[in-house]
């Protein structure tokens, strides 16, 4: 894959990751109106979805995928796929629950313990998600994914 194509993709992925991190960090501070809070939550979920789409598009671009060896790619990046969707699910759940509870007054302190457990899980998952996603984004710059090679042919023969 040409650098000219890879460069904006990587920049976009970094941007989406950074936006998600910022939103995670500062949404707790920006509780002015419930509508604004809702908008920020939606923005964060959309960012996660976009980054998932970009990763899958990168997968589809690889020679391995186009050759039909889909399972190889999925096995290599199963952590990424798993954590992306897990993190997305956690985020959506947390946002929905939080908004339901905070809609009358965004500044109230939530007393339900379950919410905080979920909060802890979401924060932990976010760290792992950032790490795994960044690693995947960098690894997909490996040109061996996009070229025919001895290794790919051997895998093909194995699966025939």
């Amino acid at each position: 894959m040409l650098v000219n194509r890879y460069r904006p993709i990587l920049y976009l992925q970094y941007l989406l990751l950074f936006a998600d991190l910022m939103l995670n960090s500062f949404t707790g501070m920006l509780r002015f109106k419930n509508v604004i809070l809702l908008l920020l939550h939606i923005l964060q979920d959309v960012c996660i979805l976009f980054s998932a789409i970009i990763v899958f598009l990168l997968f589809f671009n690889t020679y391995i995928f186009q050759a039909g060896l889909v399972m190889i790619l999925i096995n290599k990046f199963k952590m990424t796929i798993f954590f992306t969707f897990t993190y997305f699910a956690l985020c959506v759940t947390l946002h929905v629950w939080g908004m339901t509870m905070r809609w009358p007054d965004p500044n109230i302190h939530i007393t339900v313990s379950g919410y905080w457990v979920l909060f802890v899980c979401q924060r932990t998952a976010s760290i792992i998600y950032y790490y795994v996603y960044k690693r995947t984004a960098l690894r997909l710059g490996d040109s061996r994914f996009y070229q025919d090679s001895e290794w790919i042919r051997r895998e093909f023969e194995k699966r025939r």
Binding site: G28, M29, H109, K134, A137, D142, R144, S149
Partner: protein, 423 residues
Amino acid sequence: MNGTSGSLRKLPPMSPRRENEEEDVYATVRKSRKKKRTVSDERASETNPGMSSPALTDTDRSMRSRRSDRRASRSMEDISESQQPDSTPQRKKRKKKNPGSDLSPRRSLPRQASDSGQTELDGSALSLQNKSESEVTQNGTGKLKTTTSKKKKGKKAQDQIFCYSNQVYEGPVGLAAELTGLQDDVVLTSSNGEPVEGISISAPYMKSTPSDKLFMEQPGGFTSSKKINIHKRRMQLATVGSEPTDHPADQPTQTTISFALGSHHIFMTLTLFCQGLFAGIALWHIITIQLMVNISYDNLLSQYTQLAKPLESFYYLLFALCTVAAFDRYDVHRPNRECVFQGLTMQSGSLSTACYLIGLARDNMLKIWTVLSMVRGIAAILGWAFATISPQVDRLRATLENCKENEMDEERGYSNMAFTDGV
């Protein structure tokens, strides 16, 4: 070569057998026409002395349509013939020798009129040919000889319909036939490799001549430059030794993996700074909490709550960056059990970050919260300390660089284990 001669557009032979069939058909027709020829010739001589029998010429033409050189010679003879007033018998003789003699006037006609093979088949097309031929005779040049009466044309049409009855001709007529025929004309050549005469109307207008300009395709179109100038420029650049800017192929291309490594290096530099900052803030936090606790819990709560929210946010931000950097540094994805402790110390901080808010509102939880904050602060400082012990450790970078090396190894036939394992 066989389909392009004269007004009678012969179909390219589909198979040798078919050609023979054609010839047989024409042979029979020719025999039957011999009787008609004399009559038609007489009529022709009556109407116009410079005319030749169309029936005869058509069949003969079809027989010899493939011999382009003979046709050429015939055309010359036709021209010479037409210049002399010929008696009918002489003309007949000449026509026997050069049966395709009528080809030349047809050929010299504008292409629209002359090369449509179906003009004989179609009545409307016939009239077209008649017109063209009448024009030909009116021009009065040496090449032009023939005009035929419509009656004869009609007869000829019938004959040709008869002789083409074995063939299946499906296609456009008139001008459309002309234009469709042009494709075949461009492709076909004679057996000796010479381009067929009259092969394309565009041939005389589109001759390719070598010029001294070199055309280069740019995104916006083609640009031309003289070859001499290009050569001079190359020589200059070779002596100067600078990179030629007009040869993109010579520029070193940055691979995707090198770009990825560059971005990762920038990230590691940033996070190194963040780790230091995080450790500093954690230390300040520990000290402040301890001081306030020593005074009283109420004091702590009243003065600290103002800072709580932004601090928490900032804490989390730095914590996330540092943890990811720690993971990258020690490549947790492929645990090697060497320095996983580093990542763990950072990781423990995440839980305490989360518990921050829980402890904030509850008195009985304040102690837990204080303890957790201390733990978190110490973990941050320790993590930073471990990073500074070996700041050049970067396993992710090593993994990414491994990709490049393995490329070369592959070429040499080595197996690339780093690429093939599950991660």
